[in-house]
Symmetry: C2
Subunit: 279 residues, 2 copies
């Protein structure tokens, strides 16, 4: 069995690799889809106030041919949680200490017919250690074919890794729900957390999800990148994005976690859409 | 001394009067400022699930000559708070019972040179009874002259009512603050709560604030309604509105209170701007 420091090194390096890999793929798509000068990711490196507690790298591409805004964030941080918060973190109840690394992606599309895509995987170490993450879609227009394609792809990845797809799917629906509107944020996907047993198996699952995300996102984008849309579609998208903002600011655990624990605000709020509307 | 039911009647009728008065003034301004067909408020009446627990009236004007979006909400509600929440409400710790009436206004302007204006006053009865409220401005461009005018007007209203202006001003700055950005939401104003002593004096202060708001808003709007603006100004406004959304969804007590206590979602979230931007 490998030791915990090796696990930390391997996982955090995986997230670095995945960030590069996905950003290259997205830049490739930007170029493929239009003859206009393609946009590139801008890279921003940040560290926590106490630099020994780590930091992260944020990639942001705006006003692209495909993406209105897409952020790809990775981080590797450690520290000690304060007293009220530490009781909410598995295994941190006693001394509050944590180490965490992960990747988080939110893609808001220019074309309202292409859904917003969210992807995240993370590895967290306290007195326990576990993986968590998920993938979900937020379309603003119904597309049954796309929905079936998306969910079946995720089901396959779960099945290949002996993961409980049904449980993860339900978890996603339960999580991405706006109680005040009695609405789901999107069409769901999978969400999982506290995967403490079988590090090798879980890490393989997380890697498969990373590759799966790249493929899924590319297929979803390429299927529809040439489809025409009008201002009415755009308006629907901006309203849907308002819901996205409501969810992230009112309920999202990652956002609250980040804002309350000295994370990089610009990177945390990169998930917010470039523009949103309320009626 | 008048009894509590009389106090409830008088205050809630005041809010009805004030809603009419302000909406008429705003419609007058919409007409005065442009020869284009002026927009009118749309009225929506809602009640709580249990109709005996009251409800409210929302007025909304959108895409006007002056206002991108302005909502004027009044409500008169009662009920019983559940156990975790009731401890947060003064005087509701024992039986959780409350009665509340108030008016709340948020005006998002078309012209980015005119600040967004927020106004609210309320009368709440539990085992205690008190007034609360405030007025504050959110400009997206500096205007020292306007700021001095605004604050001095509020200082005068406070002084005429023997209220501690300095305390109320500081309270406002402390309240409308975004810790994650280390930014004030706007240029402040006044904010007060838990005014339990001297009902007559407090109610007069609340009435003076109502009239003061109408005058203030009218003067601020008329001073600048003809000033030209460009897309760069509008962009600044949309970014500033993003901060407004962040504040209201992450921190605002009224929003959280409303969403967690079965209030009318459409009315509660009327405070959100018609459009916002994030970089």
């Amino acid at each position: 069995m490998i030791d915990i420091e090796t696990k930390k090194n391997i996982t955090s390096n995986w997230f670095v690799y995945l960030q590069n890999q996905i950003s290259e793929q997205f830049e490739y798509l930007e170029k493929k889809i239009s003859s206009q000068k393609p946009k590139k990711f801008r890279r921003r490196i940040w560290s926590k106030k106490n630099k020994e507690e780590g930091g992260g790298t944020s990639l942001l591409l705006e006003n692209g041919n495909i993406f209105d805004k897409v952020g790809i964030n990775i981080s590797k941080v450690s520290g000690t949680f304060d007293s009220p918060f530490k009781n909410k973190i598995l295994g941190a109840e006693k001394d509050g200490k944590y180490w965490a690394s992960g990747i988080s992606i939110v893609a808001h599309m220019k074309n309202p017919k292409i859904p917003a895509i969210h992807f995240n995987t993370r590895y967290i170490v306290t007195s326990k250690e576990w993986f968590g993450g998920g993938i979900d879609l937020t379309p603003c227009l119904n597309d049954k074919k796309e929905s079936i394609f998306f969910h079946s792809k995720l089901r396959n990845i779960c099945r290949n890794n002996k993961k409980n797809y049904k449980k993860y799917k339900k978890w996603c629906d339960d999580y991405f729900y706006l109680p005040h509107r009695q609405e789901l944020r999107g069409i769901g996907g999978i969400f999982f957390d506290y995967e403490t047993k079988n590090w090798e198996g879980n890490f393989k699952f997380v890697r498969d999800l990373g590759h799966g995300f790249t493929e899924l996102a590319s297929e979803i984008i390429l299927r529809k990148s040439k489809i025409k849309w009008n201002t009415k579609d755009k308006d629907k998208q901006l309203i849907k994005r308002g819901r996205y903002v409501e969810f992230n600011l009112l309920y999202d655990r990652g956002t609250k976690f980040g804002l309350n624990s000295g994370g990089n605000v610009q990177s945390i709020l990169m998930s917010l859409p470039p523009k949103a509307k309320w009626k």
